[in-house]
Amino acid sequence: MTDIIEKTIEQDYKYGFVTNIEQETLPPGLSKDVIRTISKRKNEPKWLLDWRIKAYNHWLNMEEPDWAKVEYESINYQKISYFSAPKKKELKSLDEVDPELLRTYDKLGIPLEEQKLLAGVAVDAVFDSVSIATTFKDELEKYGVIFMPFSKAVHKYPELIKTYLGSVVPYTDNYFAALNSAVFSDGSFVYIPKGVRCPMELSTYFRINAQNTGQFERTLIVADNDSNVSYLEGCTAPQRDENQLHAAVVELVAHKNATIKYSTVQNWYPGDPKTGKGGIYNFVTKRGICKGDHSKISWTQVETGSAVTWKYPSCILKGNHSIGEFYSVAMANHHQQADTGTKMVHIGTNTKSTIISKGISAGKGQNTYRGEVKMMKGAENARNFSQCDSILIGDECGAHTFPYIDVRNPTAQMEHEATTSNIGEDQLFYCNQRGISTEDAVSMIVNGFCKDVFAELPMEFAMEAQKLMEISLEGSVG
């Protein structure tokens, strides 16, 4: 049995390769000048630069938080380069894209060309800060859907950006959100007009490539009245020795009757399996607001990568009858540490939220669920159901659950339940007895364990997620 565990632990990172493309990178360091340079390079209007500077000034007065149950070497913010872009720009078609870059995507399994034809997914690929190829533009334009890199949207739709930027996650929100607001490089902007059901699933692919660059992207999705959108985000990063910082901000705004579904598969480099050296620090602020009545925001995440994950996709349920959902599978193997969960803030009446969190710890991994459910005074008849289950594989890992529950309204009902267990010998025996190998049995049990969450993922992601779990868990037995 230990053999099998060791085999799993020794599994190498599949996506650890470096693309040799000439990059235009700013020297490491953070100052007002660096922010001005970023802003200038991107030709930003003055109000945005002012906003960045305000955020930077605020950040200077903040202290790095340390309450999460993770341990990592402290980050030297002056050693990070805050801007990095592939040199070639302004491409008209995919053919003009650097072939090396396309090969990278092929290795990652997102062939743009093929996806264009087959999958019906419009991909806005963010490759170290600058979006290089966007597909299915025309199709989306027909419906009036705006899906473009953030830097373009700032010029084309300044009013929309001005209205919504920082409206859900203000730059004063937390340390990493402030840092992101000051230096964010690019990201995606999505606007779904009134009454439109987005004809396809929107998708971006983030990747950190250049050494010592932090990725600070910003995503803003606005769904106007009666609209509907599903957004996919995938992440992988190549193998690097030094820890890289990823501090993204995602803001979602759902107006009356609108639905936003945001799905993430995160598979960043988790660090060296044996020593735990390197790997990505994934400190992300994700928050959505259900502004209008009957709106709905649903977060689904599969977190298998990163050395340290620190992320709490949240919903503010402001509109009456609005719904917030959070489905998560978090896996911590080797030396990975994950402190993740969600926050549901019930403000409107008859608001509902569901939290399903599945944590899997293996090797020396530490997995923490930390979630908050808040029922404010006005949240009449609000309802919450939370379920947080953990599986432990191997005897050196840890699983922790820290739910915070605040109820200020007696008509609100909330339930939280959690279990922690390993894969039972009897379960394995049962499968073995029926001719299923131990490896298959574990994979089956874990997949079954995560089924509630995988079922929420869009087709393309569900396949990928299942595969990812299988790869990282092959043969693990508790």
Partner: protein, 420 residues
């Protein structure tokens, strides 16, 4: 109460001639540690829901001899049948009305500490434990030798009665020897105006020992009550705890139980009833350090008016503690629109072959259940009472002493009659 005021009181304490000076180094050390960490603020993770400004507003002085009783103490309101009373009035032991069952060895806390060469189990230094060590009164220690079964429960009554803001720091050590068993009831009552009670209890259970610990916190509603309980459990020992709390303006229970011997069992229960502006707080840590132990935490709160409640339970399962079986449950009933409950049931697990679960629910009385009762001719008040009592009953069953159970039942009914 500012730190400088504590300093002044501390000097007063050190100058008291009726305490042996051999305790001074220990007090000094604790007080300087307390000064270092200062008062908890709401920025501390463990104190984020508990506002201590009321404690800092008043200037409490330590209890003097003159604060002893001026007339005969009437024990009838606190009377429980079939127990041995030990009475402590404003921090002063009342020998003439105290009795204790045979078989136990009652000594002052200082004698006890001296016999232990000033060493006691204290690996968890909370600010209020430190404050207690710095200011502790002569204290009570209950030592039970091996193979003793103490049938009569020890009923320790802590009475507070003062018109001035007083601070008392009762300190109790309980040592239960190999294969012995006992029941310990601590009962906190009072009619004081402003009062600050900061009690620490250290419990040590030897191999196969059993302790049934019941705590009744019915302080005056102007009392700030801090209870710090630490229990160490050896092989096959069994510790059962039940707290009934309906008093205090601010009542907080900081409890740490450590399972150090295989086969140890720890069963913690609590019922908190709050109304008006009361704030009742449970902070419970169960630390599984060895394999094959079982534990449960089962806490309920019923909240009225503008009262607030906190449950923060943490079960830690260390790497070696395989085959742990632990349960954690927190259920809360909100009877008012303005009540607030913070529930924070935590699991921290480092071992893989364990069974751990936790659950938390918060809500109001079930409308359908109310309707069911009313449709059968039971009026609204009575229906609410019935359901609330039903909610509390589950946890009351953990009281393993019939006379105490009926005493608490009466108290609970009284509380309900007043409020629901």
């Amino acid at each position: 109460m500012s730190l400088s005021h504590f300093q002044a009181e501390f000097e007063k304490m050190m100058n008291r001639d009726y305490f042996s000076s051999s305790i001074h180094p220990m007090r000094n050390e604790a007080f300087s540690k307390f000064n270092e960490c200062g008062f908890p603020t709401q920025k501390w993770e463990d104190w984020q829901f508990t506002n201590l400004t009321s404690l800092q507003k008043d200037t409490f002085r330590i209890s003097e001899l003159k604060d002893g009783p001026t007339q005969k103490i009437d024990l009838s309101p606190f009377h429980i049948d079939n127990v041995a009373n030990i009475v402590i009035y404003n921090g002063h032991f009342q020998k003439d009305i105290s009795h204790f069952p045979s078989g136990i060895n009652l000594m002052s806390g200082l004698d006890y500490l001296e016999s232990k060469e000033w060493k006691y189990n204290n690996t968890y230094d909370s600010p209020f434990d430190l404050l207690n060590t710095a200011f502790m009164d002569s204290g009570m220690s209950v030592v039970i030798d091996e193979n003793m079964t103490i049938n009569t429960p020890i009923h320790m009554v802590f009475i507070s009665n003062s018109n001035e803001p007083l601070m008392v720091n009762p300190r109790v050590h309980i040592d239960v020897g190999d294969s012995s068993s006992a029941t310990f009831i601590e009962h906190h009552v009072g009619v004081s105006s402003s009062f600050f009670e900061n009690g620490s209890i250290f419990i040590n259970l030897e191999q196969n020992a059993q302790l049934n610990h019941i705590r009744i916190q019915s302080n005056s509603t102007k009392t700030i009550s801090m209870a710090n309980i630490q229990a160490e459990q050896s092989l096959d020992s069994k510790y059962t705890f039940f707290q009934y709390a309906d008093g205090g303006q601010l009542g907080r229970l900081n409890m740490v139980t450590r399972l150090n011997g295989e086969g140890a069992d720890c069963n913690l229960n609590g019922l908190a009833l709050s109304k008006n502006n009361q704030h009742l707080d449970h902070h419970i840590i169960t630390d599984h350090r060895v394999p094959h132990c079982t534990s449960s935490q089962n806490f309920k709160s019923i909240l009225q008016d503008k009262s607030t409640g906190v449950f923060c339970g943490r079960t830690i399962v260390r790497e070696q503690a395989q085959k742990t079986d632990s349960k954690q449950s927190n259920k809360n009933l909100l009877l008012s629109k303005n009540a607030l409950m913070n529930s924070n049931p935590q699991l921290e697990i480092y071992a893989d072959d364990v069974k751990c679960s936790h659950g938390s629910t918060t809500g109001e009385l079930d409308h359908e259940a109310l309707f069911y009762l009313r449709s059968r001719g039971i009026d609204m008040m009575e229906a609410k009472n019935l359901l609330t009592r039903g909610f509390a009953n589950e946890i009351m069953n953990a009281i393993r002493h019939n006379c105490t159970r009926s005493f608490i039942d009466t108290k609970f009914k009284h509380w309900l009659g007043d409020e629901v």
